[in-house]
Symmetry: C3
Subunit: 273 residues, 3 copies
């Protein structure tokens, strides 16, 4: 039996996550099930897709179940994918959620439409495909069933992809998307060190950060300890993305931003902390 | 070793759930432990009982530990039960929490009072029987000990049952109890499709929903996608119960309701969305 | 493969905990991993240290990973310790977090500096040593690797210890530190029954509780059921510590206290509930 990872926007306030675990335990007895995160903001497919792509490479090869699914009950497809490298299996809605993770393993080698899989739990509810469609497919695959038996073969080229806007330059600054806000209020951006120009991550650079609500003057730092309590910093976070934080504070709260919002980031010429 | 499920009102802010897992790992090494939910509102026995009854059938047969226990430290009994079908074992307080789940498996075949079980961890605290009484009993049962050795045999007819008020008709509407509010603010009612009259779940019906604080005019829908963003809907949720939601919003917050509150639901004659 | 416990201040809103589980699953396949708690308040080392010391004794001997690490990315050391009794292995930052738990097992028999362990995941991030340093060390130790191979031997006498102020008497009352606030608002104090004088926990004693914001007149009780709904009580909690609660209410909210704050507790002479 193969390990299973599970990521969703279900939260931990109710029994959604627990019931999915129950279904998996029934179909794949003895499987290790790893909860990667259930704190993806509700219906935030891009956030979930990037979180999945960041976390799955740390997990052992196996079955990777992910559910962030605003289209549940509509006509979006449910899919199971096999990656070119490491034979990882990804299971979830066909809304772009799975593809960035698949790219980390050479892309999709084989895809199956499991919308009407024979493995579904009947009757299938309109709103809880995590339990009725995705978990049964993930569980049986983990237990060793063949991907081809999960549903109808489909052309990987027809899978729905996310459009991820690259950072753009505007009035001398970089306008970037907020990907995630963690439990501490740290703000992760859809940008990396190269987006900060030739000086990149040189510590001590002064970076102006602007949202619709507020303006922070932050120091480029390697770690929280490099700035004083209460001071803003820009840094490369543990996913190698640019991030904004306030030491001992809540940067997202100050900026009033959520995943999907845009922020303007600009180096202040000549200034240094 | 048998699988164990665990449901409680402990929340995940502190170490209560973790310590119960620690005790289980010691007594039933290698057991799969499935957290069904720890988000039951504090001391909400009816909510917990219904959540347990909804979720346990998805889990493999085994030991089902549940702790929602306002009477801890008082004179309520601690019990372990065996169901007539599938030989499932239920462990928890004797306050009605376990019985709806037992009913899903033909009712209680055998009951044991474990209040002073020889398996308890001494000294038994006054406030944390999850750790000191229930987990030790659940862990040893999962490891294969006999139910009869857990404590004193007791007559299942003497178990405490919950009184669950059925929906009632009032002024042309249906007055129903709120069973649960999920992490999205969706409101689950103690009512099913048959309570909506002969038209049942016909999509497009207009349903007036009234609480003490607010009134929503909702559309009967099969899924969230059937209404516009921000619009209220009434639907059959994944537990086959009637539920109220606002697409992309927080129905419980708008209505100002919590589990246990009553709501009046009435079809608007002739109207259709 | 040995069981692993995991305690941190990561919270459950994002994927930090999940990624650590992923790394552990890769390095110690089949290991039972027990989440003791991830609700330690951010950077609250004393709180985390006491929670670890309270919970680890309930877990089977194995590897005990703990991360509450305000100094991450600075020059604090990362360490792995072996206890004198039961051969438990503790892995975490060298900031005092691990020592109270080690004391429960006779203290530290062997200590290793793993800051630059050969087992680290490269490149090591500046901010997420849970993933890049601590989890790889914990996982390999659980899988059977030798502690001596984890890094450089170090003298246990040089480990950083926490200074924990004992309760002090002031103006006829006892000034004690708040150790923890649980999810219900119950306030755990760094004090035990002996700190309440010769009458100790005699039920019915009246105890005045004062914080900077409020004053509560509480009854010394054995359990919540001993006082009326809405009434304050002082009791011995499940960790054998003195605690303050309001039945069905939020004592910490009323008192306006957080872990680390001080509270004055004084028996009211002659009074009895």
């Amino acid at each position: 039996v193969r390990p299973i990872t599970f990521l969703s926007d279900y939260g931990v306030a109710d029994e959604f996550v627990g019931v999915v675990h129950a279904v998996l335990a029934r179909l794949a007895p003895g499987a290790t099930v790893i909860d990667l995160s259930h704190g993806v903001p509700r219906h935030a497919v891009l956030h979930g897709a990037l979180a999945l792509a960041r976390t799955v490479p740390y997990a052992p090869p196996g079955v990777h179940l992910a559910v962030v699914d605003p289209g549940v009950g509509g006509d979006r497809r449910a899919v199971a994918l096999r990656t070119r490298e490491e034979d990882r299996l990804l299971v979830g809605p066909d809304n772009g959620l799975l593809l960035p993770a698949a790219e980390r393993f050479g892309g999709v080698a084989e895809a199956v439409d499991v919308t009407t899989s024979a493995w579904r739990l009947e009757p299938v509810s309109a709103t809880f495909h995590g339990r009725d469609v995705f978990a049964p497919v993930a569980g049986r695959l983990a237990a060793g069933a063949a991907l081809a038996d999960a549903g109808e073969r489909l052309d990987p080229a027809g899978l729905v992809a996310l459009s991820v806007p690259p950072p753009r330059t505007e009035a001398g600054g970089l306008v970037v998307r907020v990907v995630a806000v963690d439990g501490f209020g740290n703000v992760e951006l859809l940008a990396g060190r190269d987006d900060l120009g030739p000086d990149g991550l040189r510590p001590g650079r002064i970076i102006e950060v602007r949202s619709g609500r507020a303006r922070l003057v932050a120091t480029l730092a390697r770690t929280f300890g490099d700035v004083d309590e209460g001071e803003p910093l820009v840094y490369e976070d543990s996913s190698r993305a640019l991030a904004i934080a306030v030491r001992g504070g809540d940067a997202a709260g100050l900026l009033g931003v959520q995943p999907g919002d845009e922020i303007r980031v600009a180096a202040v010429p000549g200034a240094s902390g």
